[in-house]
C-alpha cells in the first residue's frame, strides 16, 4: 500500500491535489482513499490531506506509516511530521520550509517559485507538487495523472496545468 501525506496551509490546493491523486488511482482500477484534516480557517492555518492507494480494499482510512510526506509550509512540516520514520521520504518547498526534518531522505524543490517563474502565478504549485509526487512514488502513471488533472481543473486552465505537471515531474531525477 502507498501511504502519502500532503501538508501545507489552507488555500494552497493540497486537498485538491490529494483528491486528484486518488482519482487517478481509481482510473487505473486501484482502490484509493483520500482524507483530510483542517482548522477553522478557510485560508491560512494548517491543513493536511492523506492518500492511500492499494490493489485491495483499504480498511483503516488514515496514514499509519507515512512513506511520502510533502510539506509546503514550515508550520505544516512541524505539525504533521510526528510519525515520520527513517524510511519516510520528505519532500519540501525549499523556499517555504527552511528547516525540514524527520528523515534523511530529503527532496528539496522550489515548488512555488517554479510556479511563479514558469507559469506566472503561484496557484499551480499544487499541481507541480502533484507531478513531483507521481515521479517519486510511481503511484500512478504520468499519463493517468494528466487525465485526472484535466478532468478536475477548469477547461481554460488545462494547458497550464499540464505544463505544471511536467515541471513537477521533471524537477527530480
Amino acid at each position: 500500500m502507498k501511504e502519502i501525506r500532503l501538508s501545507g496551509s489552507g488555500g494552497q490546493g493540497l486537498i485538491t491535489a490529494g483528491i486528484i491523486l486518488a482519482e487517478a488511482a481509481i482510473m487505473e482500477g486501484k482502490q484509493a482513499i483520500q482524507s483530510q484534516s483542517y482548522g477553522p480557517e478557510a485560508r491560512g492555518g494548517s491543513s493536511k490531506a492523506e492518500v492511500l492507494i492499494d490493489d485491495k480494499f483499504i480498511y483503516h482510512p488514515k496514514v499509519v506509516n507515512p512513506q511520502i510526506f510533502l510539506a509546503m509550509t514550515q508550520q505544516a512540516m512541524d505539525k504533521y511530521s510526528h510519525d515520520l520514520t527513517p524510511d519516510s521520504i520528505v519532500i519540501v518547498d525549499e523556499d517555504l520550509v527552511p528547516r525540514p526534518h524527520g528523515s534523511q531522505h530529503m527532496i528539496k524543490v522550489p515548488i512555488t517559485r517554479l510556479s511563479v517563474e514558469h507559469l506566472g502565478r503561484d496557484l499551480f504549485a499544487n499541481i507541480i507538487a502533484l507531478g513531483l509526487l507521481v515521479k517519486v512514488t510511481g503511484a500512478v502513471s504520468f499519463e493517468t495523472i494528466q487525465k485526472a488533472v484535466a478532468k478536475r481543473v477548469p477547461p481554460a486552465t488545462v494547458a497550464k496545468n499540464m505544463e505544471a505537471l511536467r515541471i513537477g515531474y521533471e524537477s527530480v531525477q
Binding site: 483528491i19 486518488a22 482519482e23 481509481i26 482500477g29 486501484k30 482502490q31 484509493a32 482513499i33 483520500q34 482524507s35 483530510q36 484534516s37 483542517y38 482548522g39 477553522p40 483499504i58 480498511y59 483503516h60 482510512p61 488514515k62 499509519v64
Partner: protein, 382 residues
C-alpha cells in the same frame, strides 16, 4: 453498477437519499455535515425537488416535517449541536408518526467541542435524546458505498414504519473519499409513501393501525382533512386524555419497531469461526478494528469481529449469542464508553466485555486496537 469513482461519504449519503426518493431537504449549515446540504442545494431542483436553508436547526427539522406531511419524502442533516437542538421535533415525528430521516455526522463534543474532529459520542443521544418514550432506528455506515445504501434503507424504514430514522455518520466516513461503484436506479428498491386504506365514506381514521401496527395518515391536500398533533391522540388523530389510549399509543409505537427488530438488525461477521475474542465496532472505528483484527489473525490470534450497522434498536440477540461463543468482547468506540454498556447488558456476564474508549479527537490506530486485543486475549486465557 455505475462506473467506479471517488466519492465522499456525505455526498454518497445525500445521493442515496435522492435515489430513495427524497425530494425535500431543509437544514442549517454545520460542520461536518454541510456537504449534504450543499449536494441537495445543487441536485434536488434538478429532479423537481426542493432545498431550503432555514434560519436555525429547529426550523431545519420543522420544515422537513411539514414537507413530509404534505407528501414529500424528506431529510435533514446536522451535527452534534444541531442534533441536540432538533430533539424535540424528533419526538414530535415519533408520536405524530411522520416519516423523516435525520443525518447526524458526529463530531467531537459536548457543545461546540472540536468541530472538525471525529467522534461517535451521540450513540446514546440518538436513542434517548428526546423526552418521553419511543423507539428509535439508527443506522451507522462504515464505508462510502454503505453511506449510499444506508440512506436508502433509512428513507425506506422511515416511510414503512412512519417514524424518524437517524443516520449516524461520523466525521471519518462522512468526510473521507473512497472508490465506489453505485447501483443503477433499477437495482434500488424503494418503499413508497403509504396511502389511506379506506375512503372517508368507509369510515377512514388516519391513525388506525394496520396489520403491521403502522397507521396510514393521509398526505395533506388529498381530501381527507386529517388532524395531526404532538398530543397523545386516538385513531381519529384528535387529542385524547385517556390513560388507556395513552398506554396503547406508547406500546404500539414501541411494538411496531420491536416486531421487525430482527429484520432491521444489520451487521457483518468477520473471522468468527473459531474466534475466542470478538471486537464489536461500528462506523469509522470498525474500519480500523478490521485492520487490527486482520493483523492479529495473521499473527495466529483467534480473534473475530462483529461490525454493527444497526445501532438502534440494539442488536440484543446478536450480542447475547456472541457472548456464548467467545470468551472476551472488545468494544472500541470514539467516545468515553457508550455502546459498550448495551453490549455488557446483553452479554450478562457470559463473556468478559471490555471497553476501549477514545476521546482525544483523533481516530484509533490499528496498533491501539491490536494491543487491546492482545491484553484481552491474555486476560481471558488466565
Amino acid at each position: 453498477m455505475s462506473e467506479a469513482r471517488l466519492m465522499q461519504g456525505n455526498e454518497a449519503c445525500a445521493e442515496g437519499a435522492v435515489a430513495a426518493g427524497v425530494r425535500f431537504f431543509g437544514g442549517y449549515p454545520i460542520t461536518p455535515s454541510t456537504e449534504i446540504a450543499e449536494y441537495m442545494a445543487v441536485n434536488l431542483p434538478k429532479v423537481g425537488g426542493t432545498f431550503i436553508q432555514m434560519e436555525d436547526e429547529i426550523a431545519g427539522i420543522g420544515v422537513v416535517l411539514g414537507a413530509s406531511l404534505a407528501g414529500k419524502k424528506a431529510l435533514t442533516a446536522t451535527s452534534g449541536p444541531g442534533f441536540s437542538l432538533k430533539q424535540e421535533l424528533i419526538g414530535y415525528a415519533a408520536i405524530a408518526e411522520i416519516p423523516v430521516v435525520i443525518v447526524n455526522v458526529q463530531r467531537m463534543g459536548p457543545s461546540t467541542g472540536q468541530p472538525t474532529s471525529p467522534a461517535q459520542a451521540d450513540i446514546m443521544q440518538a436513542r434517548w435524546g428526546t423526552h418521553g418514550d419511543h423507539p428509535m432506528i439508527a443506522l451507522s455506515p462504515w464505508t462510502v458505498r454503505e453511506s449510499f445504501d444506508v440512506a436508502i434503507k433509512a428513507v425506506n424504514y422511515a416511510e414503512r414504519f412512519r417514524t424518524p430514522v437517524i443516520i449516524l455518520l461520523d466525521e471519518v466516513v462522512g468526510h473521507m473519499r473512497e472508490r465506489v461503484e453505485l447501483p443503477q436506479a433499477h437495482e434500488i428498491e424503494i418503499y413508497p409513501r403509504r396511502v389511506p386504506d379506506k375512503t372517508k365514506a368507509q369510515g377512514y381514521k388516519p391513525y388506525t393501525p394496520m396489520e403491521d401496527l403502522v397507521p396510514n395518515p393521509a398526505d395533506f391536500g388529498t381530501g381527507y382533512r386529517i388532524h395531526c398533533t404532538g398530543l397523545v391522540h386516538d385513531e381519529t388523530g384528535f387529542p385524547s386524555g385517556s390513560p388507556s389510549i395513552t398506554e396503547q399509543t406508547i406500546e404500539r409505537l414501541h411494538e411496531k419497531i420491536a416486531r421487525v427488530q430482527e429484520e432491521i438488525t444489520h451487521y457483518d461477521e468477520f473471522f468468527m469461526d473459531d474466534a475466542e475474542i470478538a471486537v464489536v465496532a461500528f462506523g469509522g472505528t470498525a474500519r480500523t478494528a478490521y485492520a487490527a483484527v486482520e493483523a492479529a489473525r495473521s499473527a495466529g490470534r483467534k480473534v473475530g469481529m462483529i461490525r454493527i450497522m444497526t445501532i438502534w434498536p440494539f442488536a440484543d440477540s446478536v450480542m447475547r449469542n456472541l457472548a456464548k461463543r467467545v470468551k472476551g468482547i472488545l468494544v472500541p468506540e470514539m467516545n468515553y464508553g457508550q455502546y459498550v454498556y448495551e453490549v455488557e447488558r446483553a452479554a450478562a456476564g457470559q463473556a468478559k466485555v471490555v471497553s476501549l474508549p477514545k476521546y482525544n479527537s483523533e481516530v484509533f490506530t490499528p496498533d491501539e486496537i491490536g494491543q487491546a486485543i492482545e491484553e484481552l486475549a491474555a486476560e481471558v486465557a488466565e
